[in-house]
Symmetry: C2
Subunit: 243 residues, 2 copies
Amino acid sequence: MSTIFVVGIGPGAYEKMTIEAADALRNCDVIIGYTVYVDLVKEHFAGKEFLTTPMRKEVERCRLAFETAAEGKQVAMICSGDAGVYGMAGLMYELSEEWPDIEIKVIPGVTAATGGAAVLGAPLIHDFALISLSDLLTPWEKIEKRLLLASEADFVICLYNPGSHKRADYLEKACDLMLRYKAPETVCGIVSQIGRDGETSRTMTLAELRNTKVDMFTTVFIGNSQTKEIRDHMVTPRGYRYE
Amino acid sequence: MSTIFVVGIGPGAYEKMTIEAADALRNCDVIIGYTVYVDLVKEHFAGKEFLTTPMRKEVERCRLAFETAAEGKQVAMICSGDAGVYGMAGLMYELSEEWPDIEIKVIPGVTAATGGAAVLGAPLIHDFALISLSDLLTPWEKIEKRLLLASEADFVICLYNPGSHKRADYLEKACDLMLRYKAPETVCGIVSQIGRDGETSRTMTLAELRNTKVDMFTTVFIGNSQTKEIRDHMVTPRGYRYE
């Protein structure tokens, strides 16, 4: 039985990949992924065969992985961040029923939530909820409900896909929903291009976040009621008592 | 200005550490951490000075890191998983106000949620909430509220610290709360000793999970209404349409 490795390469920089992920890419014949991610790893894995499909061609990309593995090649399918967080691991398992002789092994990586948190300080130290604002595959009503209930529960919230050209006002809409339960002065932070050239980050209040424009390479963090700003960093206390 | 690296070493196995984390440990003079985590990395970083404090001595451990850095030594403070997810990064920032000349840099790692998800299949492909059942530092009423609202919002839920000797019935209590909104046949999974010797995993229904005993080395996953079992794995669809 052959195995396809579904590999999370982390936020982008080679050093943010796990040793296990780098080993899997070194030991495979073919690396398959979205064009942008293949470009991120290419220089570190010379001599491999690279196959790419554009965005929105996820099903084709998965089928390509199975077909290539069925030819007897060792395949690694790469995803940015963690392959299991809004990544391709799920679809690979769903399609794998058509290829019962091929096994899937997921190799975890650093997702944008924890990669971005490390840049901002320590926003995710306590219970948090991860919500994607993309309504391409999820009805907006469901996203809205999750934003409201997660805010009512006082979770730290991390938003993936907070905006794009088409969805320019989604972050503003999300902030208005969160403001029903979270205070306007709630400490928030944004990180763009995590672990890549041009990485930037900023802390601000939820009221300020509402009027901030973000793109699809930005990850957004909204604190809980205890999150504070310490030395320009966003920090959520765990609750250890100290004098 | 000197810098302390707060390093997430991942679930435990050396290969699950990022390249950046391994570099930070190789380049430091002193590695500080909870005894169990220091034992996990010791053999890979021979020649370093190792300092440990037991569990519940987190504040002392952080002060030790600052005092050692103030002596001019390069310090790495290690945490299992990601240092920013129920880890020491928050407390390090909080205490850092007493040491304004020392900078903190967090190096992210694979947390148990994504490490465990990779073992089970792909349970976290869509929006999820991370909740710790430990009421040592959080009032149980707050945990209860978060379990209820996260279930009502149909999040996939990942539970950290689901049980211990003292809290033997906490998972059962948590399941009863989640069962108010989630169906008894909701697909769930548990993983123990992620990435370490003796790693085990199991998928089951929420009704079965309610009657399952777990320890503090177990991470628990409760699916959303769409999570399914595919080839013995726990898989949450993202929603890509395919025929």
